[in-house]
Every structure is written in C-alpha cells, then in structure tokens.
Symmetry: C4
Subunit: 272 residues, 4 copies
C-alpha cells in the first residue's frame, strides 16, 4: 500500500465508517491545545520571556504541522476519484473545510516568513478557523444547524416574544426609575434600561444595575416572576430541538450500521 | 386592476393566504426601526444637534408614512364587501387594529402640526401602540393569549404558590436578619425583605441585598435550594402551554393548507 | 330557610360543589389584604401617625370580622349531622382548620382587650395562620403535599445528591481559596464556603463571595457548568410531580362532575 | 443465634432485602454528623477552647466507633460463605467499600496514637472517604454513574458545545471590552474573559465582572439570550437521564419484590 493511500486513510474522514483515525484524533487534540495556548498568550501576567518562548515554539510547531497536514490532505485526496488530477485537486481546495484548513495556518505562516513575529492580534483570531477543523469530526456541530432549521418557526416566534418583553420591561423601568422618583443614572435611557432588562430576565443579575425606588422594585419583581418563563422560551425550544435532533441521528446511524452488518453477513453467506 | 384593489392586496392581511406582502413587510421593518430610534432618542449622550436632527427627520418621515398607510388602508378596505360604503368604513375604523394604527401616528402628528416639536415624553410612549401593528402579522401574539387561557387554572395555582412562598420567605428573613442579630437595613421591613426574596427565588440575585448572619444564611440556603423549583413553576407551566399552542397552530395551518391544495387539485380535474 | 342554614351555605366549603361562595371569596380577599397590611406595618418609613391609625383601624376591623366569622362557622356547623349538638361542636372546633381560624384572631383579640395595643411583634406572625384559612379553598395547597408524597423517593435522592454536591464543592473551594493562594476571608471555613457553594449552584450568584485566584476560578467554573444540573434536580422533580398531580386532580374533578351531571339527567328522566 | 450472626445481620447490607438495619442507620447518621463537625471545625470563630474540646471528644469517639465497626464487619463477614476463613477475610478487606471503611478512621487513629493531636489539615479531608460509607446504602449514587454512562454520547456532545460557546463568547468580549474601547482589567486576557463567560452563561452572574461599553453590553446581551439554552443543555441532558435511571430502578426493584412475594406465596402453598 502506497504512502498516498495510507495518508488518505489516515486523513480523510470518509475513509472510515465511524470514529476517528489516530492522525485525526491528534489533530483534534492539537487544535484544542492551540486554543488553550491562544488564551494563555493573551494573559498579561504570562508576558515574560520564559512563557513567550514557549508560546513562540508552540505556535511555529503547530503552524508547520498544519501546513504539512494541508499538503498531505490535498495530495492524498487524489485517491478519491472525484478529486483526481489537477482540476480535481482545485475542486478539493475550493471546499469549505479545505479553505478553513488553509486559514488555520497560512496567514500566520506568511507573517512568520516576513519575519514580523506574529504580533498582530487580529491575525490570531483567524485561529478560530481551527474550530472548523474540529467541527468536521463532531457531527453535533452539523446537528446544531439542523436543529435550528427544524424548530425555526418556533424559535423565531419565541425570540420575537422574548425581545419584545425585554424592550417593554426596559421602557417601563425607564419611566419608573429613570424619569420618575430618583433619576438613576443606570436607567437614564431606554438602551441602558435594556441592559438591566436583559440581565434580569435571563436571571444573570450582575448587580451593577437594579431599581432602588419602591415602585421600581415592585415593577421589577412582577416582571421577574412573570417574564422569566418567556425569555427562557427560546433556550428551551432550542434545547429540545437539538436533543431531539441528536437522538434521531444516533438512532439512524445505529440503524444504518445494523443494515451494513446484515448486508456484510448476507454477502459472506452467498460467498460460501 | 385598479389602484384600490392593488392597495387592498398590498395592505390587507386577509388578501394573502400565508406570509406578508412586501408593503406589510416594510411596515413591520419600519415599526422595528422606530422602536430602535425611540430607544436611542432617550440616550443622554446622543442629545447632540447632529443626532437630534436625524431623530427629527426619521420621526417626521415615519409619522407621514403611517398616516398615508392609514388613509390607504381605510380607503382600500372598501374592496371587502363587509366594509363597503361610508358606514362600512366607520365600522372598519372602529376595529381594534385600526385604532392602534391611528394611535401610532395621530397624537404626534397633531403635536407636530401645533409646532411643539414632539418633545412630550409621555406621548412618545404612545408609539408602543405600534407593537399592535406588528402583532397583527405575528400569529404568536394571538397564541400568547390562547396559551394563558388554556393553562389558566394551572397558571393561577402555581402563581399563588410562588407568591405565597416569596411572602413566607420574606417574613422569615425579616425576623432572622432584620429583627434578629445584625439589624440589617435591607431587611428592616417585610416589603424590603420581599425584594430580597424575589431576587433570590427567581435566581436573579443582584447582590444588593443578602443575609450576613450565619442563621440568616442558613435559612436563605434552605429556601433557595427548596424554593427555586416552586417559583419557576409558573414560568414552566406557561412555557409548555405556549409551545403546545404554537405546535397545534402550526399543525392545523398545515392541515388547512393541505386541504386547500387538494380542493384546488380536485377543482382543476373536474374542469378538465 | 333559617339564618343558620343560610350561614352554613355561605361559609361551609362542603355546601357547594365547586367554586367559592361570595362570603368565602370576601374572606379570602380580606386575608390577602391583611398580609399586605402586615407587610406595610413593618416598614419604618410608614411608622408615622397617619399610617399607624390606618393600620390600627384595619387590624381591629379584621380581627372583629374573623371573630364573628368563627362564631358563625361554629354555630352553623350544626346543620351538618356530624357536628350536631354540643359535643359535635367541640369536635368541629378541634379540627385543624377551626384551630387555624381561632389562631387567626384570638391572640390579638386578647391583647387588644388587655389594652396593650398589639405591639408584640411575634404575635403578629401568628397572622400567618390566616394562610391556612385560604389554603382550605385552594385545592393546590393540598396537591402540594400529595405531590411531595408522590415523588418522595425521587425527591429525597435528588436532594441528597444536591446537598452532597454543595458540600463537596464547598470543601474543594475552601482548600483552593481559603487555605491556598490568597487566604480569602469569605472562604476561611467550610460553612462560609457552603454559602458560596449554595449561591453559585442555585445560580443566584449574589456576588458577595466569589473566588479570585486563577485556580479557584477554574474549579468554580467546572463546578458551575457540571453541577447546576444536579442542584436543579430536586426543583425539577418537584415541579413535574406537582404539575402531574394538579392535572390529574383537574381530570378527576371534571370526570366526577360529568358523572354527577349524567346521574342528574338520568334521575330527571326516570321522574318523567 | 451467635454474636457473629447477629453482627452480620446488623451490618451487612446483603442481609436485608430492603431498607437499613438500625445499626447501619446509626452509622449513616454518624457520618452525616461527622461532616457537620468537619465543617464547624474549620470555622475560625469556633476555634476557642470550649468548642475545641467538643470537636476533640467527638472525633475520638467517631474514630473509635468506626474502628470497632470495621473489626466487627471483617469478623462477621465470615457468615457469608464467600468470605470464610483467613483468605476470605483478606478478599473481603480488599473490596472497594472495605478500603473506604479503613480510610475513614485509620489515618487519624495512627496520628492519634502518635500523639500529634490530629492537627494535619489534609488528613481531615480523608474523612470525605466516609461519603463512600453512606454511598453503599444509597442506590442513587450508583444510579449517578449509570445515568452518566447512559447519556454519555449526548452529554459529551452538549458539553463540547457548551465549552465551545463559553470560549467563543470569551474571545468576543476580550476583543470588544479588553482590547477595544475602555481597556477593562477584567477582560484583559482570554482566560479572564472566560471567567466572565462562565458566570454569565450559567446565569450565576456574580457581578464582579461585566461589560461596561455600549458595544460590549450589546454583545453580552445577545450572547446571554441566545447562549443560555446551549450552556444549560448538559445539565438538562444529565437531569433527564438521571431521573429516567432512578424511575427504571424503582420499577425494577418493585417488580423483583413482587416476583419474590409471588414465589414465597407459591412455595407456601406447595408446602400445605
């Protein structure tokens, strides 16, 4: 078995019926690690020479690995008849996931080659494109979109309702707390009152903004008890749609695996 | 096709089986935009000449558009046999939605005509009547009322329970924190303790008020773990009733659409 | 129809198949009003002569009405064969609800008669016994107990789990934040850490106590994401048991009403 | 009946079909009490001679009781044919629960014998091993693991999604609040922003960190309304799996009890 086929089997998700190949599992791990390092890199208390070196070495390594992976992926894609030849490779490179693979290392590689030391902050965010590298292997991310589409009408309706309630609650508190009684700064305009309204109705309740007049507290209490259910509606609708979607996918994948096993068994029998 | 019929088809929701006409979609967008501007208008940091001009121009434009829309709506309503003639138009104007349409521009138009510059705050709130303009096109707002009626007995019961728990928790903490140990200001009366009780049992937890004595914290902890489920009950009851209501409406609208399609197909066949 | 029978029909809940008599509805209203006044009475800013007079007059009125109601209830109970005669009345007065009726006015009536001006704080709390006066008319309060009994095993298990998690999370943060790194006051002992643990895992999050070291925040984050579901479990179990219980009661009351109507119809027919 | 058999019946959970023997109930109570004392012992305000004595006496008593219990458990295990003889006892002592029983008293007993006064803090935490002493009697703790295994795929997926959302929200706010506009300390790095992200998306909302720029608040509001459902997903998945698991266990235990009763009845009949 040639190197090309081995690479294909190690890299292409279509080459395996279920699970991840060892290579792909390593790539997933590397992406997660690179997110951890991206987070640490921004921490001011870690901006000391020692850690900076660690970050630099790690980044260079990761970029090189992803560059090699990209080349291997494009080259070995030729095993699949759909991507054979030069035009096939171009078709392969124009795919959504291939572009994400490219974005995961190219911008930083170019900067590195230019010797600018990868200091540009915005470029670092392009590393979030690596999320798509993982998404390919986690069917749940696909299920996410399917769940949203599935419950789209319910979701839109409940979102519209939630947003309306947030707005009306903000207008009410703006009048009661901002214009009325104690002229609080935090309720001095509707946009500011919306900040209170969102924090309260999602039950986050930071405590940076809250009504202080008796009437404001009375209104806020009524709004909180009555409104929390409405604002939690979109979350609930999405959660149930997503969980239904995942269950169905699990069922259908089990079913297709079963059928495959049966077909294999039947084929074996007829061979005897 | 005359202008009147064209206007009727563009404006009356009954003229289309599903969805919104382009005109109505624009009106919905305009209402949403006007809410955005209403919010920004109240922001003190935007009360500078430049923004004030933008707000003024926008308000005048919107009021004129809604006035024109109202006139067009009343005039074109004559296409519907139910609202033909002068008395029919009066009947049309006496409808709930028509009155809301009128309130959406008339008060501000009068003020504008009197040259007072639309500065009256309370009048601006009448713009919330524009919410009803949208509500007409979003069946969910109707479903809201139906859901409340549907689960009314469960809702009332769970609300009564939630309010009772909030009250009893407030009385308890009033004794433990307000009268007992450390005489906290924030628990100095039952109404003040109710503010704590609502913030805690809805899990908003602003942090402006909390028990500080060991006994108060012990009681608050027990109340929080045991009581959150009770206070979340009305929200849960409403959410499930609303989601059931929406699902049923979607089903029944799909069913009636199917029947309509079948009837159309049958009619076509018999024509052949 | 004598006064006794009229009183019986106005007061005894058993005298009516469904709903409340006007008299009982008034009593329910009066109890709710008395809770509102109990709350306002404790507010320091309302302790001025004018309000004090209002509270005094209201309290005297309510106590007199409840005293009269109690006498009328005991006297008219004789209509029911089970409570006829002197011994029957004693049996009636020994009932749970009758004792609550007595507690709702007697202690304060005695103090009033002694001229001490109802100033004793603790005595006022006995007014919470009036809650039982309402509970009699709201079947949901009975359903409360039934729901707890129904799901008792699940409730106990999930409560045990929730309490265990709260304890273990507190011990963990006590070591990480209290003993380790920055020696925070708020985590200086396990009981204090439990206060943090309860506030976090119920998602109340007052913000008076929170970890500040990186390790403490890391642990708190993991605990929050993983543990909120466990601590919300008892609330969810109770909510679903209570809502099931209420639904069943509604169904069974509808069913018995239907049967009663059928039996009435059959009886009428056989009379013809 | 000899002492050994009596001890076996008092101590071994397998000796009884359901429920706890009095001895085991006492041990459960003692463990819970010892957790209460462990908590109080750490409280600085209770570190006075009086309380210290109470803690010391309690600890010594508990350690002695658990030592005696351990000896009795090992000795009486011989009643079970599986653990007869010296090698059987060794097998018994190598069990998970027996090791937990040993850890519950031995380390502190050794320290006590060495006269060091049990002052070592870390050793005290070994008392958490006593949790396993209770876990043996509460089937729910076993159900916990089963529930996690049952919904493992759904749990993992929803956890991955929740963690991704927390990370992406943190990166977004890091750019908007930390790098942009007002250079807030609390958003100065991604790890710090993650702390905000966790506190917000779990709706804990301590209020130590929150966005203050208009753009930051806008983003935070959108994230809160849209994201709360996603982060609550793992909690919901676990809660429903756990409650299903408990229900099934209750059903199957009822069923096996019923079968046992039937078998007993049949055996009795055939004896007649």
């Amino acid at each position: 078995m040639g190197l090309k086929r081995r690479l294909y089997e190690a890299l292409a998700p279509e080459a395996r019926r279920t699970g991840l190949s060892l290579t792909n599992a390593c790539i997933v791990g590397l992406v997660i690690l690179s997110f951890l390092f991206l987070a640490l890199e921004t921490e001011p208390t870690l901006q000391v020479p020692g850690w900076q070196l660690v970050f630099h070495v790690f980044n260079v390594t990761v970029i090189c690995i992803f560059a090699l992976e990209y080349v291997a992926r494009v080259w070995s894609a030729g095993i699949d008849p759909a991507y054979r030849g030069f035009r096939g490779r171009l078709r392969f490179m124009a795919q959504f996931y291939s572009i994400a693979d490219l974005l995961a290392f190219l911008p930083e590689l170019i900067l590195m080659a230019m010797g600018s030391g990868m200091s540009l902050l915005v470029l670092r965010v392009l590393r979030l494109a690596r999320l798509i590298k993982i998404a390919r292997f986690i069917p749940a991310f696909e299920a996410l979109g399917a769940a949203v589409r599935r419950a789209s009408s319910l979701l839109l309706t409940s979102l519209a309702l939630a947003v309306t309630l947030v707005y009306v609650a903000a207008v009410l508190l703006y009048f009661v707390e901002g214009i009325g009684g104690n002229q609080q700064e935090a309720f001095a305009s509707i946009p500011r009152a919306i900040w209170w309204s969102v924090a309260t109705l999602t039950t986050v309740g930071y405590g940076d903004v809250y009504p202080v007049t008796p009437l404001g507290r009375f209104c806020a209490g009524i709004i909180a008890i009555a409104g929390i259910g409405v604002v939690a509606l979109p979350a609930g609708v999405f959660a149930s749609a997503f969980s239904d979607e995942l269950r169905e996918r699990e069922l259908s994948s089990l079913r297709s695996e079963l059928e495959q096993t049966r077909a294999d068994a039947a084929a074996e029998k007829s061979n005897d």
